[in-house]
């Protein structure tokens, strides 16, 4: 079993456990913010499960369409909903001049490294969604409801780890533990596992 398959299998198991646990918490709470977090963890888990089982069963990349991308594209949409509507009542002009150059530089670096037809478009969309999510999460962390801090911190961590994953994927290659990509991938697994403490830390929080 290659290192990539090992890390993906571990990630799939952690994602599935987190998704089921998060869904149970969401059903118990019935609050929109928890249901949206369950949606995020469920979509990410399904995408990881499809990608990993495809690798395990066929040992090759998909022929026509990376169907797991559908789920990976949907996952940040749930976070975007939470972050965008958490800050509905926040009006602060000082933050935006900082966020916009960060967003533009990040998009540009990503497109420079990975543009390749349809993949490039999908990745640009994903990066745009995560960048906006990041900007709103930082804003909500600074000026928003203190009860929701752990959720906004979780969102920031997730986006940062995802971006690190893409950069390491572009620069380094090789199927050894010396490749930083696999360490960052394991960090992503840890980040996914931290969704439960993040939600429990913001148990009394709800969207305005």
């Amino acid at each position: 079993m290659t290192i990539e398959l090992t890390t993906n299998t571990l990630q799939m198991c952690v994602c599935l456990v987190s998704a089921i646990w998060m869904t149970i918490l969401a059903v118990q709470s019935a609050r929109p913010v928890h249901i949206l977090m369950a949606g995020f963890s469920d979509t990410f888990a399904l995408g990881t499960m499809y990608w990993t089982t495809h690798q395990l069963m066929t040992t090759q990349i998909p022929d026509a369409f990376y169907l797991a991308e559908v789920s990976f594209m949907a996952a940040p949409l749930f976070l975007l909903c939470i972050e965008f509507y958490s800050g509905k009542q926040i009006f602060d002009g000082n933050f935006y001049p900082v966020a916009i150059p960060i967003y533009v530089v990040a998009c540009g670096l990503w497109i420079f490294f990975t543009i390749d037809g349809g993949d490039g478009i999908a990745n640009a969309m994903y990066m745009s969604a995560t960048a906006i999510c990041f900007a709103k999460a930082v804003q909500n962390l600074r000026f928003g409801n203190p009860y929701g801090r752990s959720l906004h911190l979780y969102c920031i961590c997730f986006v940062l780890v995802e971006w690190m994953l893409w950069f390491t994927e572009c620069i380094w290659s090789g199927d050894t533990w010396a490749n930083p990509y696999y360490w960052v991938d394991n960090s992503l697994t840890l980040t996914i596992a931290l969704i439960i403490p993040a939600v429990k830390g913001a148990w009394d929080y709800d969207l305005p």
């Binding site: 089921i20 019935a30 399904l46 089982t53 069963m57 369409f65 169907l67 797991a68 559908v70 909903c81």
Partner: protein, 207 residues
């Protein structure tokens, strides 16, 4: 050669006659079942078209293209129903389930005609596997749309998110069923396992 269109007309005819005779509430359910069968037929054409465009085999199209096409086709009438008629929440779930039932039933009948009725094991897998999977996907989308359309701000992103969950679930099932052996057994059990988990979650909610 199997003439899917002929099977379609034969199946749909009694439903259309029943629509004329039925009460208003029952008529809507019958129309959605008919649409489910129509969606199945149209999905077969669209899947074949994209298989030709991507120059892939039918197996690859089943694993990678069909889930997206089929779930989109199932969703379209429900979106129209939501936008135009603004139904109550539970009516959305009922409509989605009827579409899924029509879809699964027509698909299973086509497989029966193509492969015959000899192999009970295979037919049980088709019924409790593929048929149940379509119902589970319909239920996921139904409950998801019920939640998302309660809030104006969540309608668009919620619909996209729910569609993506159903598409990936469907794709995972197709992927597991494409390889014989333990993977196929896991795939067959997947919808039933999901239903068991859902019933447990329902009990958790009631407590």
């Amino acid at each position: 050669m199997i003439y899917l269109e002929n099977i379609y007309f034969c199946l749909v005819a009694p439903f259309l006659v029943a629509c004329v005779c039925a009460h208003k509430e029952q008529r809507l359910s019958l129309i959605f079942v008919v649409y489910g069968m129509t969606a199945c037929l149209l999905s077969a054409y669209i899947n074949l078209f994209f298989a030709q465009v991507y120059q892939t085999s039918i197996l690859v199209a089943t694993m990678e293209i069909a889930p997206l096409i089929e779930e989109l086709m199932k969703l379209f009438p429900i979106l129209y129903y939501l936008l135009v008629f603004e139904p109550k929440n539970k009516a959305v779930l009922s409509a989605m389930l009827m579409v899924a039932i029509g879809f699964a039933t027509f698909e299973n009948i086509c497989y029966l005609v193509e492969h015959g009725t000899d192999n009970l094991q295979y037919l049980l897998m088709r019924g409790f596997g593929t048929g149940a999977m379509h119902i589970v996907c319909g239920t996921i989308m139904g409950y998801g749309l019920m939640f998302a359309w309660k809030y104006n701000w969540l309608k668009i992103m919620g619909t996209i998110g729910v569609l993506c969950i159903a598409v990936t679930y469907h794709a995972e099932y197709n992927l597991l069923m494409s390889v014989e052996g333990i993977w196929q057994v896991v795939g067959t059990m997947m919808p039933l396992l999901t239903i068991v988990i859902a019933l447990i979650l329902k009990k958790v909610k009631l407590k």
